[in-house]
Symmetry: C2
Subunit: 204 residues, 2 copies
């Protein structure tokens, strides 16, 4: 919500409009709920602006399907049918590997994650989308499967006007550094603490 | 994401399924970005489950319209047309008052907020929706326009299976107490700190 005013007006030679329209890197991290949910909320906003939305989901399992995928893909079809909103591309990167590291070998997972990142780099170089959601992308960085310095440099030097949202716990310092906006979703209280498991509609 | 297991299994006489399906009160608070965005992300999930979604937005201005409203109302029409998802009702409560307290008299704002809460109470008593988003509802409580004890008692004793998400800064202690899940969205870094204003698609 644009509820505030900038604390400082920088001496960067840009007009307010130029500064306002600079593309952003957003990072949703922390141990609390809402990191991915807020990122997909932004994707919904972007769709409504007519933006091309690209989701790159570093999934727990290729079988995993969250409600947002169904809805965003439905909105993408609506765009094709009626011209409303923008196009949506949903990719499950490294399908078949699991961040829980319980399936496949670690080498398989690492190779799949590296290939996922290579695809994101190609998309950024081609300016394929206006908004990228790199969901749970912090994990392959934390595990050393994708080089955090390469990610930071690629995001810093990306061409054009491409917004990028990254979600996940344990964000690499390089990601925090390159991000324009960082929110830490902190768990104050969670039903699992008192024995309640996740449920449909709330957790997925 | 159902990534964890409960830390404890409570001795409450409920089966895992009964416990899992208990309706929740969720609270998104803190000074960071993502409180409302994550709440509307949950509304999208709820829609996908076929839930009746009721949004009660304690708006800055009646003229204010966020992308999520356009998209969720569009999804509501899609439900009417095709049966996909669930119905959506979007209410701007106390339209015309502003939480910035710059328009109207304080008495007007207080009366409008009280009427907004009375409508939410009626909806809860009638079990009108499966998911309620009470967006920026913390403010009328913080200003004493709506009684926090009444809100907590009403939420605690609500009938049936109704999930409620409340967003906003400075949540009353009674809200934190009644909530099953509380996430504090903490600002680590924000573009406004370095002179960049909010922009379309990101902030609204």
């Amino acid at each position: 919500m644009p509820e505030g005013r900038p604390l400082v007006v920088p001496d960067d030679g840009l007009t307010t409009r130029q500064r306002r329209n600079r593309p952003l890197v957003l990072l949703h991290t922390g141990d609390g709920k809402g990191k991915s949910t807020a990122a997909f909320g932004l994707a919904i906003r972007g769709w409504n602006q007519g933006w091309s939305v690209g989701v790159f989901q570093f999934v727990k399992s290729a079988k995993w399907r969250i409600g947002e995928q169904t809805v965003l893909e439905r909105l993408g079809r609506l765009h094709e049918e009626t011209g409303e909103g923008g196009p949506v591309a949903w990719h499950k990167m490294g399908a078949g590997w699991s961040w829980s590291r319980k399936e496949g070998t670690e080498a398989d997972h690492a190779a799949a994650a590296a290939e996922g990142w290579a695809e994101i780099k190609r998309a950024l170089a081609e300016q394929r989308h206006d908004l990228y959601v790199l969901d749970e992308f912090t994990y392959p960085l934390a595990w050393g499967w994708v080089d955090a310095d390469d990610v930071a440099a690629t995001l810093r030097e990306r061409p054009g006007r491409q917004h990028v949202v990254v979600t996940g716990r344990r964000a690499a310092p390089q990601l925090v550094e390159v991000a324009d906006l960082v929110t830490d979703m902190h768990k104050v209280k969670h039903p699992m603490d008192v024995g309640q498991k996740g449920q449909r509609g709330i957790e997925w």
